[in-house]
């Protein structure tokens, strides 16, 4: 399981990386916005995407939309971890096909719950 973590703040990438390691996911790569994340995704081998929303260059919502529109990546599980907490934004992310949405500040338990839930769903739908 290879996970790509996209956030413009390196401190947040480090926190998520450490939390994932605690949960047993040791294979992670990082990118600092949608623009740098896309080539990594397109190169293949990423099984799970965790992305922030508010980033310079390309935002997380645009990254999500681009991923969903890409034939090869369209089924990639995407978890958003963001401080954006307005109703319209969450609706927008849901409509764009996000698999999970976590608002910052969050806890280790929340991250674990959401990741577990995404995998449960993927297994259920085959």
């Amino acid at each position: 399981m290879k996970i790509l973590i996209v956030d413009d703040f390196s401190t947040m990438r480090r926190i998520i990386k450490n939390l994932l390691r605690d949960l047993g996911f040791t294979n992670t790569v990082e990118a600092d916005d949608g623009k740098t994340a896309l080539p990594v995704l397109q190169a293949g081998g990423i099984d799970f995407l965790i992305t922030d929303w508010n980033m310079p260059g390309m935002t997380g919502i645009d990254l999500l939309k681009t991923v969903r529109a890409d034939e090869k990546l369209s089924t990639l599980p995407v978890l958003m971890v963001t401080a954006e907490s307005k109703r319209d934004q969450i609706v927008e992310a849901a409509q764009a096909g996000v698999n999970g949405y976590i608002v910052k500040p969050f806890t280790a338990t929340t991250l674990k719950e959401k990741i577990d839930k995404i995998f449960e769903r993927i297994e259920a739908t085959g």
């Binding site: 954006e84 934004q89 280790a108």
Partner: protein
């Protein structure tokens, strides 16, 4: 051309026109008439230019007034609120970190001390300096110590995780501070424009408000952020998502 110059030229041309008429010089008449017409036009254009400039200045100062009013009434107090929020977030993170450290230190000191004691016993045991009674005591100590190590290191791991999570403030406050920096840049631009009031015309009717899905960073209480419907915490987000069929 000043008004005096203009008037003098008009008068000169008028005198010459009379002379040319009296002399019956047709070429001269036509030339002086052209000169007079040109002078009249120049004056008209100058007046028109002046009027346009005055109108333009009046208009741009009205726009600027509105921008400054927005800054003073809404955006500066908003920015102050944001910066206060940054202070309270950093304070909270610092306190969480310090609490976790203060709770961890006695645990690690205790582990270290007991482990050192047992290690001394163990060295004596290996060099066969230990009586059977002392061995039983060391054995009893180990029985207590080993499960405690397991439990204490689990607690320490939790405290370390708390410290790590508390560092999330850097991202959140960073996003808020970036917005305040944007405002400072706006104020700077406004001041520069105020200085060159007569400068280029501003783009009219530019809507500065952001669409409700554009990224804005963390919602700060008591600011314009809360005008839109904001989810308070993960539970509300989860409720909303489940209402959307998630």
């Amino acid at each position: 051309m000043t008004k005096e110059q203009n008037d003098k030229e008009l008068l000169d041309n008028a005198r010459r026109l009379v002379e040319e008429l009296e002399a019956g010089n047709e070429d001269g008449i036509s030339e002086t008439l052209d000169n007079l017409a040109r002078l009249r036009e120049t004056e008209l254009f100058q007046q028109l230019g002046k009027l346009t400039r005055e109108l333009h200045d009046a208009m741009s100062s009205v726009e600027l007034d509105q921008r400054f009013a927005d800054l003073a009434e809404q955006e500066i107090p908003d920015a102050k609120e944001r910066l206060h929020y940054v202070i309270s977030m950093t304070e909270e993170s610092a306190n969480k970190t310090l609490e976790a450290v203060e709770s961890s230190l006695p645990i690690s000191e205790n582990l270290q001390q007991t482990a050192a004691e047992i290690y001394d016993d163990w060295k004596r045991f290996k060099s066969r300096e230990m009586t059977a009674d002392e061995f039983r005591k060391m054995s009893a100590k180990l029985d207590v110590f080993l499960p405690r190590v397991t439990e204490d290191t689990r607690v320490l791991h939790q405290y370390l995780s708390d410290i790590m999570m508390a560092q999330g403030f850097q991202d959140l406050t960073g996003q808020i501070i970036r917005r305040v920096i944007d405002l400072v840049v706006d104020v700077e631009a406004g001041l520069v424009e105020l200085i060159r009031l007569s400068g280029k015309r501003k783009k009219a009717g530019e809507d500065k408000r952001k669409s409700s899905i554009e990224a804005q960073g963390p919602a700060v209480p008591n600011t314009a952020d809360t005008k839109n419907q904001v989810m308070n915490g993960q539970d509300e987000v989860d409720d909303l998502l489940s209402s959307l069929g998630f």
